[in-house]
Structure formats: structure tokens, C-alpha cells
Symmetry: C2
């Protein structure tokens, strides 16, 4: 069977990295027995300016009806409120119920700052928290006042913690095959329940409860929890401490960008927006208007996002071959884009990685 | 005139570091012409267990009526909601209208990770945002749902940005006296207005407007703004970029702990809770139950918090002498507490710093 992949480049360097994602899928070894077909889909600020909709209905429908997976590049959201505009990636996550945003951060070699290997994954809740975008503005006694709602539900907290637990189990299985069995599996629940005792309190207790399911307990998955500010601190002081981190939407957003700094460049960090039976790979970097059109965007975040998408499509072997090729490129360290201190072009890096497949 | 200082040790190592704060005030050179008197005040979880109130009315009244400034240690807030308990430091900030939480992060020497000097200050709004603690829980269609309100007002955003601008001006004056005039003054406004267009949008536009006041413009203070997730990233990639960062309450909480990791230990990072005419110095570390009672807590965060409190009491000369003595201890690097990789006791570090005054 042919797997059909939706390609949504979006704006800026999204248009330079998504083609790289397509190329690596086309270059996968025939021995894997995978075939792909592609459909180009619109979304983003340019689409908004052209059509009045940042996320055309057609894009959502095609993804729902035709696609087995998708790749999303980046969009350049305007900072100031723009009538009728709303972030298409945030909308897409909700419309397709892609409730988990999975963001692995992994080092390939020790650095002076971080001599110990970093290999963690942030599992970010993707549908609620302050991202429900329910806001209002009114006149207070001393000028304007604006309020936003942070919403945390037991059901969303249960399913995000459950998938975090499953990811911990999968990582454990991978470590068993590679012999790294000394490392313990752990899920750390992020919250600020010392201040938000009801909302973050609900996230914390619900997530812990979900992680106490027999399938996790029996496999020895340790449950830990940590307050978000001290996690931001410890993430830098002792990143090798973490295995799987599960977090409400906004903390996950902030912590995953922070974690990207641990491995040197946002241009390396992939993500997948995951729902039941569907995943959209998405590099963590943005549309990067400063380097747009120069052909120097780092393709690695996208290539790793392709691998992550494949993992959630149960194509673990194909995923592993991409990870391996990317790691080999990084360990050699000869063909690197400027964000990594190198001089290579996007295309040269992609060619090098494809050669290593 | 004698300056009267309220001492609120709180819980855990708060009881070990606040006495150090008192000692340094008593040891200030007579040439400064300052006299201090002290009053011991209760607050914290132990106080709650003993009296039923985490922040006794008497503590608030004494601070309001008798004190010129105060020092707060740390409290051990319970993670799970505890009937009748609410964080005393959060309450104190609101009751005394200490609307700014000022958190300087400064390196004393280059490190392999951060070869460039780090000298930034986070000015965190201290009275609103999700810290209004207005929460409710209800039964949804699929289990419990909890909501919290994030409130941002024009008035609080204006005054926090204004004090951030004033801090930028003061830092500029200090740099002029020390000859470091090559560095430009800049205030970076933190927000997530690409998602929360009303609440964070209001913070962003209001803060920018306040910073456009002539007194800042004429002094050449540059206004910048940045989305919180990319700030978390850049804070680690290029910390020397930042001068003054102004942020809503929760982002400020997370970013300031993250920034503490840049200089190696939370045990080094001070803060001051500042209102009109009153300041409470507070080390950024918590009550650290793991090292409580061992006499090895790092006193430096508290000693620098004393200096910060003095700055906001317009005792800049006394403040400068404490900063200098602390820096000299750190640059020599012989007497360090365990969090810094040393073996010294709290008392030995305090003695060493007092000798250098
Ligand atoms: C662009 C923005 C709306 C988005 C988010 O906040 O989720 C981005 O930061 C991300 O992490 O994918
Ligand atoms: C203890 C807690 C309520 C507090 C806060 O969140 O403000 C602490 O983290 C701080 O930064 O002072």
C-alpha cells in the first residue's frame, strides 16, 4: 500500500525544509517496502493574505480523508492581533484532535557544557490550557483589563499522560535492543500546583494516576513530578536526569524551546503532533524570515520530524534509518548549516544524509 | 536615623540564610553612616501548622507600620491543596503591593559554556497574571474540568514597564561611572501575543508604550520584544544579548529560574519584591528541605538580596560594597558551598565576605 503524505510548507523557510522532508521519504531504501505519494496543501500567513483563511477548509478535509500522515513547515504569525487571522497550526492541532506534541531532544556527542548524554522527550498537551484562546477585554477602574482562560481537563490530562507513559515504554524497548539497559524509565509531570492548585493540581494528580496503570508500573516506569520553574532550572543544570517529561500546553511550549538550546540549535529539534491514528511532523523552529530564501535553513529538524511521523505510523524501521543517517552526519560534523557554525547549504546537508541512508 | 528591617526566615534553609543577611547589615563599614534595627516576623508552612495562618496579620501590620525594608527567606509550600493554606510570599506581594519582582543574574567570570559576560535583570510583574488565583472546578462531559484566570491589566503593565525602564536607566548610570559605556541599554518585553492576542497583546503594547516615555527614549533605551518560548531558547544561546527583561508574572517566574542556571547555581541569585517606597529582599532559591539543618546553604543569594533591598532604599553605596565583597569571594573561588562544588559551610562563606567588606 502507498502511504499518502500531506505537505504543508507554510511560510518562510517552511518552503525550503518541507521539500527536504519529501526527498528523504522518496530516498528510503527499497528494502523497507514503503511507497509514498504526496499532496501539497496550503496554510499560513501568505495563504491568509491571498485567500482570507490561514487554514483553508480544503487542507483540513484532504488531511482527514486522504492522508496517512503529514508534514508541516512553519508559519509566520503576526505579533499584533490581525482581524480574521488565527494560527493555523494551533487550529490544525484542535481540528484533527492531535492531542500530543512530542518533542525529543537528543545530543549526539558530549560538549564542554553537557558532558553527559542528553536524551529526553517532552510530551506536550496540545489542545487546551491557555491555547483554548478564550479571552475577553473590558474597562477596569484604571484602564483596560484582559483575561484569558487556562483550561485543564481530567480527560485531556489522562490521555496525554497515557501517551507519555507509552512513549516511555517504547523508549525502554529501544534501549533494550541497543543494550542501554542501565537507564531507568521515568515520566516527570510538570505543573505549578503550588500556585494553581485547582487547574495544575488537576493536571498533576490526573497525570500521576494515569501513569500508575499496571502496564507502566509493571515495566518499572518511575513517576516523578516537578514544579515548572524548578524544572526550567534543572533542565539546564542536569539535563541527563530527564527521560520523558509530560507538560500542559504552555509549559511544554516554553520548556521544549529551552531544551532545544541544550543541543545547540533549534534547527535540530523535531516534533510530531499526534492523535489517534494520525501524526503531523513539524520542525520546532519557526519561519525564520531572516534567512528565508537563502537556501541555508537547517533541514535536520524536518528530517527528524519525518522519522518521528513514521514512528507514529508504526514504521519504526524506516524511522530508525533516518535517525541513524542524521546522527552520522552530525557526528562527522563536516557538512553543517550556519546555525551549527558551518557553511553548508540546505541541499548539501540533505544530499549528505540521503547518501548515508 | 536607624533603618528598621523585618526578618522573615520562613521555613527550611530560610532560617539559615536570613541570619546571614542580618550579619552583613550589622557588619557594614561605619563610614557609611547607617544604623539598623531588626524585628523577627513569622510566616510559612510551620507557622501555618502552628497557628492556622501562613501569613499572620501581625507580620503584615509590623511591616507596614514599623519597617523600612525586609528580608524573606523561603517557604515550603505543600504541592497538594491544603485547606486554609496559601503561599505567604504570594500574599505578601499583593498585600504590600510589591508590584515588581526584580531578579538580576550576573556572572563574575567567563565559563566554557558562557565565555561572554552575563549581566541581565528580569523584572517580573508581581501582582496579577495567573497569580490572581481565581480558579474553579466543575464536572464536564468527560470528567472534571478546572479553569484558572490569567488577568493582565493596563495599569499593572504600565507600572512594571516603567520600573523596568527606570532600572535600565540606573544600570546605564552605573555603567557610566565604571566606564562600560559601549553597552546599549535595552528593555525586552516578554509575551506570547501570537497565541494570547488580548491578554499578552495588552501586556506587549502597554509595556512598549510605557517605555516610549521621553525619559527612556532620550537616554537611548532600546525597546525590543520577544515571544516567551523563543526567549527561553535565546536566553541560553546568547545570554549576553539581554539587559533588562520585563515579563508578566508567570513567564518571569519560569525565566528567572532558567536564567539562574546560566550562572551555575540558584544559590547565587537574589531578588527584591519592590513597591513604592518599600522592598523585601528574597533569595530565589526555595526552602531546600534536602539540605536543611546542615549549615551548608549558600548565603550569597541572600547577601545579594540584602544589597538589592538597599538599592531600592536608595542606599546605593552600601549595596555596592556588598556586591563587591561577594564578587571578590566568587572570583577567588576558594570558599564555596557544595552547590558551587565546594565544601564550605554557610558561616565560613559569610565570614569571608564580611572580611572583604
Ligand atoms: C507558532 C506558535 C503558535 C506555536 C505554539 O505556541 O504552539 C509554536 O511556538 C510551536 O511551539 O509550535
Ligand atoms: C514559591 C512560589 C509561590 C514562588 C512563585 O511562584 O512566585 C517562587 O517560585 C518564586 O519565584 O518566588
Amino acid at each position: 500500500r502507498t502511504l499518502r503524505i500531506g505537505l504543508i510548507p507554510g511560510d518562510g523557510i517552511g518552503r525550503e525544509v518541507i521539500p527536504a522532508g519529501r526527498r528523504i521519504l522518496e530516498a528510503l531504501p527499497a528494502s523497507l517496502g514503503l511507497k509514498f505519494s504526496f499532496v501539497d496543501l496550503d496554510a499560513g500567513f501568505d495563504t491568509f493574505k491571498r485567500t482570507g483563511a490561514a487554514l483553508p477548509e480544503q487542507t483540513v478535509e484532504t488531511l482527514k480523508k486522504e492522508c496517512d500522515g503529514a508534514l508541516f513547515g512553519a508559519v509566520s504569525s503576526p505579533i499584533t492581533a490581525t482581524k480574521g487571522y488565527s494560527s493555523p497550526i494551533v487550529a490544525l492541532r484542535k481540528k484533527l484532535d492531535l492531542y500530543a506534541n512530542v518533542r525529543p531532544v537528543k545530543s549526539v556527542a558530549p560538549t564542554p557544557c553537557f558532558p553527559d548524554p542528553i536524551d529526553l522527550v517532552i510530551v506536550r498537551e496540545n489542545t487546551e490550557d491557555l491555547y483554548v484562546k478564550e479571552e475577553k477585554t473590558y474597562d477596569g477602574p484604571n484602564g483596560k483589563v484582559a483575561e484569558a482562560i487556562k483550561r485543564i481537563s481530567e480527560s485531556a490530562s489522562t490521555r496525554i499522560a497515557t501517551i507519555a507513559g507509552e512513549i516511555a515504554l517504547r523508549r525502554q524497548r529501544v534501549r533494550e535492543t541497543t543494550g542501554e539497559t542501565s537507564r531507568k524509565s521515568m515520566v516527570t509531570v510538570t505543573h505549578k500546583s503550588n500556585v494553581m492548585s485547582q487547574s495544575d493540581g488537576l493536571f498533576r494528580t490526573t497525570a500521576r494516576k494515569a501513569l500508575e496503570q499496571a502496564k507502566f508500573k509493571d515495566a518499572g516506569v518511575v513517576i516523578d513530578d516537578q514544579i515548572v520553574d524548578s524544572m526550567a532550572y534543572k533542565l539546564f543544570r542536569e539535563p541527563s536526569f530527564y527521560d520523558v517529561i509530560v507538560a500542559p500546553n504552555l509549559y511544554g511550549d516554553i520548556l521544549s524551546d529551552a531544551a532545544a538550546a541544550l543541543v545547540g540549535s533549534l534547527g535540530l529539534v523535531p516534533s510530531a503532533n499526534v492523535g489517534d491514528g494520525f501524526a503531523i511532523g513539524e520542525p520546532c523552529h519557526g519561519s525564520a524570515p531572516d534567512i528565508e530564501g537563502k537556501g541555508i535553513a537547517n533541514p535536520i529538524a524536518t528530517l527528524r520530524s519525518v522519522a518521528l511521523m513514521l514512528e507514529f505510523m508504526n514504521q519504526e524501521e524506516a524511522a530508525a534509518s533516518i535517525y541513524k543517517a542524521v546522527d552520522a552526519n552530525l557526528v562527522e560534523g563536516k557538512l553543517l548549516t550556519p546555525d551549527m557554525g558551518g557553511k553548508a547549504k540546505t541541499e548539501e546537508v540533505v544530499n549528505d544524509i540521503i547518501k548515508r541512508l
